[in-house]
Symmetry: C2
Subunit: 319 residues, 2 copies
């Protein structure tokens, strides 16, 4: 087992920029409720499972973060991500027996809802003659399966959903989750599929009011978001099994970038994917080689096979 | 009736920047299907209504537009808007007998769905013992009302939904809608509640690939979006009754900004609102004064009274 490089020292510059990020971030709304929910979830799942050892817990991050450009936010920069990957992966982790903390962008794709209509789910339902609600015949099977599977996951206490919108919320909640998961040691896993902004506008240097459009072109300078993966690995939850994602548009630099991320942030696995093919193709990059995973056809999920591989890697890590 | 200032000449500079915007925009996906749907909707609704005259048709725009920062889009700038105003207003326009073209941001709030859960509508439903789908008792009434009202609007042919995401899609579809509505003359109305970007990155000067984060802070220069309200009023649909919105965060400049917009773009009405209070308070600005509209309590919509005033104004305009 990799002790997590917990002994390495973080560069002072990074520690300072991380501190400054959290110190100047707007306060997290509802943080005591989040903390309470988290603690209850971890407590329930850190007791021995039926099979013997403690339950494995994975934090799945999903969807894109926003970067506000104004303090009273009208405009913001957003990162593209439907959240489909995180939602699908959550379902397969639940199926594999994991308890899942689903840290997701508000309004992004939700587990068990992937095949349901997004904009106008009213089209799925009809009012019967006795004014009872009926599901259109054509969709009856998938809607019933969705409701059933979701209810099961919730009743078994295997699913905790925590939402975020901005980069400030995301990183504050991620830190809370990681610190709560620290006692789980190597039974904890981070599956960091969210599309996190690389750049942001520090809260203090942000425009207070809506930027006016009357005065010609707009020039903006964005700062780099401190690399929190290092904090996660070295400080917040050093024993947890960590998987990060690398999305690129240019195939020529993809594997090189994935490899760099793995070394730089001491990830156990990096999942590399290209924007053009990410739905059906990923490369699982580990320290002893790469595994290509493709979905069999348009009706199967690439996440199914990928999660099997990751669960297997996690088992080996636990040994 | 105001002849729409159709005789005024557009400044050459504006015409040139509008032409350049459309010429360099990425081609609109599915434009022939949109055009077909629009034509069928206008044809059906331009026939005489039961009461005599033609049906009034309103184009309600709703939600925020995005501005891509990369051609293979990973990052974009977004404008804050839940789309709640546009969705609520659509319901009241339908109630008042209008046919509504609901031009909305994908994933934003939809008419008749406002009281339904956003993220996890699975929580509303239960599987009965015979595995039939049931609505939780507590939400049964509002879900039934939503499905019933929505079905009525669709069956009467009073609702056409057209989605957009980027500023390029929004302005291309708006132009198509406006030109299709031109034959309706003054029976047409535009209710421009969408939060449209003031700035954009011209497609040709946009980064082809994902902007890399390794090289320090990010500097960006955004160009102004040409003022399309002038095109709408003078070229696309000069006889239509036009209402635009002004959202500000600073109360000190709100009415002045609304007044400027009215004069500059020859709007018939400008609805002014502040970010802090827009859900319950608006000011309807017309050429003979302002009307303050507030919602009675937290259970009533400010849109109900506002749409009454606007329908009344439209009637006077038709006389």
């Amino acid at each position: 087992m990799d002790p997590g490089n917990g002994s390495d020292v973080l560069p002072e510059e990074l520690t300072a920029s991380v501190e400054s990020f959290f110190d100047t971030a707007p306060p997290l709304q509802g943080s005591s409720l989040i903390s309470h929910k988290l603690q209850a979830f971890i407590d329930r799942n850190s007791k021995s499972s039926e099979g013997g050892g403690p339950v494995r817990v994975v934090c799945v991050t999903s969807g894109g973060t926003t970067v506000p450009l104004e303090q009273r936010c009208v405009r913001y920069i957003d990162n593209f991500s439907s959240g489909h990957r995180g939602a699908a992966s959550t379902e397969y982790f639940v199926k594999a027996g994991y308890a899942v903390i689903f840290l997701h962008r508000r309004g992004s794709c939700q587990p068990y809802c992937r095949y349901l209509p997004e904009d106008s789910f009213l089209d799925f339902f009809e009012l019967g003659e006795d004014s009872s609600i009926q599901v259109c015949q054509s969709h009856s099977t998938i809607v019933k399966k969705a409701i059933g599977d979701y209810q099961n996951a919730v009743e078994r206490g295997q699913l905790l959903k925590l939402p975020f919108t901005t980069i400030f919320e995301y990183l504050q909640v991620l830190r809370m989750v990681a610190i709560s998961m620290r006692p789980l040691g190597s039974y904890g896993m981070f599956y960091l599929a969210a599309a996190v902004s690389d750049f942001y506008v520090p809260w203090e240097s942000m425009a207070k009011h809506k930027i006016q459009s009357s005065s010609g072109p707009l020039d903006m300078r964005l700062s780099q978001v401190p690399k929190m993966l290092s904090m996660l690995r070295k400080e917040w939850a050093p024993m947890a099994f960590c998987i990060s994602f690398k999305l690129e548009t240019d195939g020529n630099i993809l594997l090189q970038k994935a490899d760099m991320a793995m070394k730089k942030y001491h990830m156990h696995v990096v999942v590399a994917n290209l924007l053009a093919t990410y739905k059906r193709e990923v490369i699982v990059v580990t320290d002893n080689g790469c595994i290509n995973v493709c979905s069999q056809d348009e009706y199967s999920d690439v996440e199914e096979e990928m999660i099997k591989i990751l669960v297997d890697r996690h088992s080996k890590y636990l040994e």
